[in-house]
């Protein structure tokens, strides 16, 4: 049964110290699917990704990737798992002291014994795939935000991973760059047959490209479905999220313990 699902989270709970982040999460992703996990800021989406990459370990539950529990992996196993995985970070996380070429070549040089001319060809192919062939000699500081994100994407797919993780791939991009990145994610997923998880709060762009959506709020999955199901969803929470309304089930105001008048000391009798 683990064969039909590439990633499976069973009853996973995670807490920072005493602050619970994820509560009893169950989630299944089929091989080759592109899945989005959406939710507000601080809802535990990024933590979910880090559980899958093995950067965090859950206090309870199992994180199965291709049938193996990431939470129980030893050092060597975990590194083997990560070698088959690519991750695109929120702001790219390019190595600022290496050129574009060296950034993309980094995983190849670290994990393969390929000769330098083959590495060169692979790097140029990967850069070509993201449309940035010709930028090899530039340093990350010379790239625009969108270009940096694409170079990071080329680096993430350098080893042809079986699993791609995208952490907020659309944050801070102009609409054109955003469209380019979304197109690339979709195209690479289809071309490489990779399973991919994308954490995002950009609803419209992601609904266009993903196969399945999970909504996370307060550490729990509160809704899921295909993009069409989500667009038509009755749930007031999903409705509020998809349409970006300021008030709804998620309140505009932080739930303060006391009323505003109390905080301002305007109540006559309490204030001597």
């Amino acid at each position: 049964m683990s064969s039909d699902f590439f990633i499976e989270l069973r009853n996973v709970s995670f807490a920072y110290g005493r602050r619970p982040i994820l509560k009893n999460i169950n989630l299944r992703i089929q091989r080759g699917q592109l899945v989005a996990i959406m939710g507000g800021s601080g809802s535990g989406k990024t933590t979910l990704l880090r559980l899958i990459s093995g950067q965090y370990r859950p206090q309870r539950g199992e994180v199965l990737v291709d049938g193996k529990d990431v939470a129980k992996m030893g050092h060597a196993e975990l590194f083997a798992h990560r070698r088959r995985m690519g991750m695109l970070f929120q702001f790219g996380a390019l190595f600022t002291d290496l050129s574009v070429f060296d950034n993309v070549a980094f995983p190849l040089r670290e994990h393969t014994d390929l000769p330098e001319n083959m590495i060169r060809d692979l790097v140029i192919m990967k850069l070509n795939a993201v449309g940035l062939r010709g930028t090899q000699e530039l340093m990350p500081a010379e790239l625009s935000g969108g270009m940096a994100r694409r170079v990071a994407l080329a680096r993430a797919i350098a080893l042809d991973p079986a699993l791609m993780l995208y952490d907020e791939p659309f944050t801070g991009l102009d609409p054109i760059s955003l469209g380019v990145i979304a197109l690339l994610i979709k195209k690479l997923n289809d071309a490489l047959g990779t399973s991919a998880i994308m954490v995002t709060h950009d609803v419209h762009k992601s609904l266009d490209i993903v196969d399945h959506v999970y909504f996370v709020a307060n550490g729990e999955i509160i809704a899921e479905g295909t993009p069409d199901q989500v667009r038509a969803a009755e749930s007031p929470w999903v409705h509020q999220f998809v349409h970006g309304e300021a008030d709804g089930p998620v309140h505009f105001a932080y739930p303060a313990g006391r009323g505003l008048t109390d905080d301002l000391g305007m109540l006559g009798d309490g204030h001597a």
Binding site: Q55, R82, R83, M87, A93, L94, F95, T96, P107, A152
Partner: protein
């Protein structure tokens, strides 16, 4: 117990626990660096690159400060020695002060503020921009790839810089004593030769600078790796590197001097 006693005691306890915790953490960090050093020393080009940033770029500041310190020693030493009619011993005074104390200590202080702070800021920024995370997600250990090469580069660079500082200082003393004041240059060198012992002065001075190099670089990479990944966190980590390094250099210097001389 009254409250005014409890709260300072509690603060003292908290500070002590914190200090001990950090000491334990930094020791474990050193063990981790040494464990992964094999990998990074095999790929020596990584270390060479860091020697460039830590050592080569510190050359100017070391040359200039060494020269000035030597010139000041020359002037002050001459003033004091000539009062006792023994200005001939200027060479010995300059060389011994530099080799035993000033060379290793001042070079290490300059190194901490020039290269140590840069290392902390660089590693801290790599952490803040998720570069270290990206590395470990790519199944590359950041301690082996980022921290260990910088550590070894610092350990290699420090004795070289201290030796250069000494030579420049002795040359500075020569400029003042021989060229400016007009002492006999043969006396300057021969007095120095008589007073300086290869083992007790030169080698011990180099051992000192090696120890300082290990301490300063360890502090620098640790503070960077341990920094809170925000702009404020990196800047306070950089400050801590310089302050802690300075204190540790001076304390270690006292301990080493007590054992060596």
């Amino acid at each position: 117990m009254p409250e005014f006693l409890i709260s300072p005691l509690r603060r003292l306890g908290h500070a002590s626990i914190n200090a001990i915790w950090r000491l334990g953490f930094i020791s474990r960090f050193l063990v981790a660096i040494l464990m992964y050093s094999g990998q990074s020393l095999l790929r020596f080009s990584l270390v060479i690159r860091e020697v460039y940033f830590a050592g080569v770029l510190s050359l100017i500041i070391i040359i200039v400060s060494g020269l000035f310190v030597g010139m000041v020693l020359g002037l002050q030493g001459y003033n004091t020695l000539s009062r006792f009619g023994s200005s001939d011993a200027l060479g010995a005074l300059v060389a011994l002060s530099l080799l035993r104390e000033l060379g290793p200590v001042l070079a290490a202080l300059l190194f901490a503020s020039r290269s140590g702070s840069a290392m902390t800021a660089e590693i801290g920024l790599m952490k803040a921009t998720e570069q270290l995370d990206a590395m470990s997600v790519m199944a590359v250990n950041p301690i082996a790839r980022v921290v260990a090469p910088r550590f070894w580069a610092g350990v290699i660079s420090m004795p070289v810089l201290a030796a250069l500082f000494n030579v420049m200082g002795i040359f500075g003393g020569y400029l003042i004593g021989v060229v400016m004041i007009g002492l006999d240059q043969g006396t300057y060198w021969s007095q120095m030769n008589n007073a300086v012992d290869l083992h007790y002065d030169v080698v011990n001075g180099l051992i000192k600078s090696l120890v300082f190099g290990i301490a300063v670089t360890l502090i620098a990479v640790f503070e960077g790796y341990d920094a809170t990944p925000t702009a404020a966190g990196v800047s306070s980590a950089t400050t801590r590197t310089v302050v802690t390094s300075a204190l540790v250099i001076l304390a270690l210097d006292f301990v080493l001097t007590a054992f060596m001389f």
